[in-house]
Structures are given as C-alpha cells and as structure tokens.
Symmetry: none
Subunit: 429 residues, 2 copies
C-alpha cells in the first residue's frame, strides 16, 4: 500500500431507530473518530433501515467508492436483523458453522443461570470465507470479509459491544494495510474557560500550526479538553514538533490548564489517592449521587473511595450528616457554612483523609433572586482545612448536576496536586 | 397524493467535521424525528464531506430513491461551502438575485453595530426556479427546489438555524403533499426477558401484524421496551387496531410487561410516591450512587426522595449503616442477610416509607467461584416487610451497575403497584 495514498472508508449504520430519529447515531461518530485516529479517511456515512434492498444497495455503493466498509447493526437473531443474509447474498456465499464461536456461545449458555434461548446458537453461522471477530460482551460475533482488495466488516450496533470489537477491527486494518504513518495525540485539559474564549485566545496559535498538526476542541461537561493531533512518518520529528506546539499553546492559555494526561478527573484523582494510600468520601445534595457514581464507575475505586451520603433533604443533612439545624435556618442549605459543615462532618463520619461536599439548586424549581437556579456551593476538606467556593452554572438540571460534579472533582484534584507540589493551597481562590 | 403510499425522504448532511467524528450528527436525528412526526418515512441518511463530487453523487442517489431530500450544511460563504453550486450544477440552473433576501440582509447589516462583511450579500443569490426559506437567525437562506415531482431542500447546518427553518419546511411539505396521515406510538415495557427471547415469543404475533402497524424492540439497560407504531388516515380505526394488537401481544408476553406508559422507571416510581405522599431512601454498595443519581435526575424528586448512603466499604456498612460486622464476616457483604439489613437500616435512619439496598460485585475484580462477578443482591423494604433477590448480570462493570439499578427500581415499582392493586406482594419471587 502506497503510504501517501489515503485508505478510504465508508460507514453503514443499519437501524430503523436511527431513521425515525429515536436515537442519536453515536456509533457513526465513534467509528469515524477511531478510523481517523489511525489515519483512515472516512469518505461517507450512510444510515439505512432494516430492509434487504436498502442494505444491499448501500453495500454496492460503499464498496465501489471505498477500500473498507464498516457496517453496524442488524446482527441479532430477530426477523429484522438481516445484515448476515445481505453479506451472503452480496458476496454469493453460504453460511457455515464457526466452531470457536459455537464453543463460546455454548459456554455462555452453560454459565448463566438465566435462560438463554438456543436460537442464540444461530450466531455461530458465518458466511463462508469470512473471519469471526470475537464478541466478549454479547452474542453476535463480528464478520470480517475480504473480497477483491476490499474489506467489509460487520459488527453489532449495541455501542458497548461495537466499541470493544472496533479495537480489534482497527488492529486488523493496521496490519492489513501496513499502516506506518505515525499519529500522535496530545491532550491538554482546561478548566474555567469557555470553548468560545479559548478559541479566541488561541486564534493566532491555530493559524501558525504546521499542516501536519491539527487542533480540536473537545468540550466536556464543565471543562474543555484540547487535542493536538500530528501525522508524520518520523515519530521523533513529530514528538519534537508537538512538544514545541504545546509550549506555544501554554503560552496563551496556560493558567487554565490542569492536566496534560488523557484521563478524566476521577482517574487523575484515583492516581493521586492510590499513590498516597489515602481515602475519600462525599456528601452530596444537588448532585444527588452523581459524584459518587462518577468515582465508582472506575474499577478499583474501592481502594480509595469509602462512599458517601446523599443528603437530598435538609432533615438528612441534620440527622444523618450532623449539620446544625440553626445554621440551615440562618444561612440556607445552599451556603458556604452548610457546605463546609457537610464536608467536615462526612470526613469525620467516614474516617477519610479527603471529603467533597456539594449543595446547590439544580432547578428548574427552588431558585430565588438571591440564589438563582444554578447556584452551587462546593467544599473540599482534608484533616486540617476546609475550603468552599460558589459557582453559578445557570439553567438546565442535568447540566448543573454534571458541571457541579466536574467543579467539585476539579477542586479536589487541585487540592491533591497543590499538596504534593508546593504545599500551597490554591483551592477556593 | 395517495394516502396509503408513503412519502419517502432522504437526509444529506454535508460536513467534514462529522466524517472525522468531531461532532455528533444531531441534525440528522432531529430532522428524522420531525419528518417521522408528520408521517414522512425517512429512507436513508447520508453524510458526505465538503467535496463537489461526493455531494453531487449523494443528490443523484437520494433523488432517485426518495420524494424529498433535505440537505444541511455547506451554505456559508467560505470556500468549502458548495451546496449552492452543486444545486445549480445538478439542476442546470444559474444564480439569480432574490430581492426579499437581499432586503433582509441589508437591513441586518444596517441594524447591527458589529461590522458584517458585504460578502454576506452573496447569500441573496439563489438558483433560478427555487424558493427562499427565510433564516431569521443567521444569514444563509434555505433553498426549496421542486423538480420533476421531487423536492430538494437545502438549509444551514447550524443546529439553531436548521431547527427554526425546518418548521417552515415541514409546513410546506404538509401543504405540498396534502398530508393528513395520523401516526400513533404505543409503548410496552418488559422486564426479566431478553430481546432474543421476546422476539422468539412474539414471532407469530409479528407475522400477523397488519401492514399499517410496525413493532420495534428497544433494548435498554436491563430491560426491553417494545413500541408499536401505527399509520392511518383514520385516527379512530388506528386506535382500535392498536388496542387489539396490544391485547394480542399481552397474550404472548404479558407476564413480563410492567408498564404501558412511555416513562422510565424513576418516573413511574415518582408518580406512585407523589400520589401517596410517601418517601424513599437508598443504600448502595456496588451501584455506588447510580440509583440515587437516576432518581435525582428528575426534577421534583426532592418531594419524595430523602437521599441515601453509598456504603462502598464494609467499614461504612457497619459504622454508618449499622450492619452487624458479624453478619458480614459470616455471610459476606454480598448476601441476602446483609442487603436486607442495609434496606431496613436505611429505612429507619432516613425515616422513609420505602428503601432500596444493593450489594454486589461489579467487577472486574472481587469475584469468586461461589460469587462470580455480576452477582448482585437487591432488597426493597417498607415499614413492615423486606424482600431480597439475587441476580447474575455477568461481566462489564458499567453494565452490571446499570442493570442492578434497573432491577432495583423495578423491584420497588412492583412493590408499589402490588400494594395498590391487590396487596399481594410479587417482589422477590
């Protein structure tokens, strides 16, 4: 394969639920991003319904204009799942039993106490000449079919299964095409500045970027991640160029950067706490368990996270968390004093080194002139200190919840890094 | 227009940023949903890059197979905006100045203090024979082009502009095709049966469905929702036919159906608790706050949800939740006895009418031969009773967490409905 020539890919997503607009086609963007990341050029994305004719004409069109076609969906065992049939028809193949898939399915049926119908074993039948791509989460194996220098890959539409299997597909594509263009991604995470303002501050930087490097803005809930992607056949040159550009970038927006790692805040916090063998607890009001959930989504979190209290009513803030009733009466539940008591008390009650507490108004109800919807007090505490800060996140219940969680985790992370680096607390400023 | 014949539409989204996976194609799902809502059948969605050749071939393909084609993107005035050029080329038209668009643009330039470049006036040039669709937010007018009984509509890709203009497009489509077709969706929610088994049980039902009604399987985290969609010019007939089909469907899978409402479990639970003015608390181990989060995502949840305890470590189960240390030593934290104590204790501690408790192994670590990863005990309690049940959710940390939450909410919902209906507890069987 000529290295200067792009490998072109097409993506076909099969599913009526996308065509009626019931679900977002998140699979397409995930696959597009993944293919782009290994240097494959995505030429076209198509969504078609669960109809043979549409699927076959999509195969025809995509295989004519692209080197690789990735198909998602239609691999179940129900009547409206017809991807496999279409592959057989298009390539004039029969189905044949794949022994390793069959063994896998039988072992799963055996292992689960819950009844799995034997119709699932149909999944072991694959088009002659194709390779199976193992599905370690669900039942339907993926299908890798090479034909006249073209490749068609079919994987399930269930996002979790698709994502796990796509990793294997990307590896196979890299091997197949001897892709040796190096691609390096560098991540720069910022907090406290909007995407619009970032892009204004970085407009000169962006204009001066060499053509082999691209800047992407990846806005998340409550913060913006930047990604520099470089392409080159020389790894060494590319690394050096990227380092140079990152130092330019820091010149413009350095004060907002909190990490150069491609990790989410709960991961960054996990690293610090595990390193120090210290523990954490949370006291949540308006975030209602979301911070605890964000932390416990990570495997191994039980090593440093003891748990928390969701104190959604004032009664619980007093009776379970031990906040003084008088304080709530005087200052209101959404106040510096209350959130600091919440943090200190949960730290003690859970016997941990660090605590986070959040109390705010997620809305749409509960706002006032003084404390409008989106007002959120956040405190972080260790054994010696507690700091609190007030944020205004505006409207949108789910947005307020997510942004509050991000801000709380950010405050904790800053506390953890300030201790290590210079003992100078920056939190709450 | 024959009312029994579907009007078929295609959607073309133009934009490199979608092909590299940088942004979600939210425009496609918005347009698909809108078209579906007025009875137009979306046949295909295509995403192509900012290249003339790709755009023209997309026009060709879509106009061949669909009655209406909606195009978004590529209507700006920069070099990579070529939708208008492609329309002219495809339909062999010249550009002509549209007076009303010109007037509008001039008035905007005049009104805004901010300098707007005169290049914007280029937007007044539209293909001969087309109609302009007014853009009240931005500069680029939409283009409505009728040609040999087909319609091509081009609107900007900026979601806000697109959404406002699509309303006008839908109106014009309804007038053009004299649409008076009714569409009704009916939802049937099932728990405790896999999609594969459901579809096996419903295969006869599905085969006998009249052509105007379609069945869709919508698998969620831990349960499967079914949707019957009917199309007809007579609302009354359609309602009657759908009722009939739902009763047929219940005949096959009735025991798994828990709701005919298009609501998620936290909403169904909210309705019951608000109706009775009763309250709820949770004690979570492996779900780590996710149940509390699911409940508090709903606005108004503070009316019936007091909060909960995330007892992620055994120490907290004992010291905060008051579970007996001996019980954990003897039975293990993931056991019927412990989860029942968790439920009873949080009920008392939070002084609520209902409590949920969950203790399980989300993995990937912590499993054993007796209690493999995915083993989860769930208890629901009211003032008089507590019931527990064991589930095996298999691998996948996030999956186990979500399925546990669904099962726990389901158990609570069944408890709430059984009390109302016949005082016969079905939970835990």
């Amino acid at each position: 394969m000529d290295q200067d020539k792009f490998i072109e890919a097409g993506i076909i997503n099969i599913g009526d639920e996308i065509l009626i607009g019931q679900i977002q086609n998140t699979n397409a963007s995930f696959i597009a991003q993944s293919l782009t990341s290994i240097g494959v050029h995505v030429k076209k994305i198509m969504v078609v319904g669960d109809e043979k004719e549409s699927i076959l004409s999509a195969f025809e069109e995509m295989l004519t204009s692209c080197n690789i076609v990735i198909v998602t969906g239609g691999l179940g065992t129900t009547n409206d799942d017809m991807t496999k049939d279409c592959i057989c028809k298009y390539f004039h193949r029969e189905l044949m039993e794949n022994k390793s898939v069959l063994n896998y399915l039988q072992s799963v049926i055996h292992a689960r106490s819950r009844t799995i119908p034997n119709t699932v074993l149909k999944q072991a039948m694959l088009p002659v000449g194709s390779e199976a791509i193992a599905n370690e989460i669900g039942f339907a194996p993926g299908i890798w079919m090479e034909y006249e220098e073209k490749i068609l890959v079919a994987i399930p539409g269930v996002p979790q299964e698709m994502q796990a299997m796509l990793l294997k597909v990307l590896e196979k594509i890299e091997i197949h095409y001897h892709i040796n263009q190096h691609i390096i991604h560098k991540h720069i995470q910022t907090f406290g500045i909007s995407e619009a303002l970032l892009s204004e501050n970085l407009s000169v930087f962006e204009k001066n970027l060499p053509p082999c490097i691209r800047l992407a803005y990846l806005p998340k809930a409550g913060y913006v991640s930047l990604r520099l992607t470089g392409y080159s056949s020389s790894m060494q040159k590319l690394e050096a160029e990227l380092e140079k550009q990152i130092s330019h970038l820091s010149h413009y927006v350095g004060e907002y950067i909190f990490s150069y790692e491609n990790k989410i805040l709960p991961e960054l916090i996990a690293d610090k706490l595990k390193e120090r063998k210290q523990t954490l607890a949370v006291a949540e009001s308006c975030t209602g368990g979301y911070i605890a959930h964000s932390i416990t989504l990570l495997s191994g979190s039980s090593n440093y996270f003891k748990g928390g209290i969701v104190a959604y009513s004032n009664e619980i803030k007093c009776n379970v968390l031990g906040v003084e009733q008088q304080l709530i009466n005087q200052q209101g539940a959404v106040s510096e004093e209350v959130v600091m008591q919440m943090a200190k008390n949960v730290l003690q009650l859970y016997n941990v080194e660090y605590a986070i507490a959040v109390s705010g108004i997620a809305g749409p109800d509960g706002g006032s002139v003084e404390k409008p919807v989106g007002t959120v007090w956040i405190a972080v505490a260790d054994k010696n200190n507690v700091h609190a800060k007030c944020f205004s996140f505006g409207n949108g219940r789910e947005r307020v919840i997510r942004q509050s969680a991000t801000a709380a985790l950010y405050m904790l992370y800053k506390l953890l890094t300030s201790i290590k680096n210079n003992n100078n607390r920056e939190v709450g400023k």
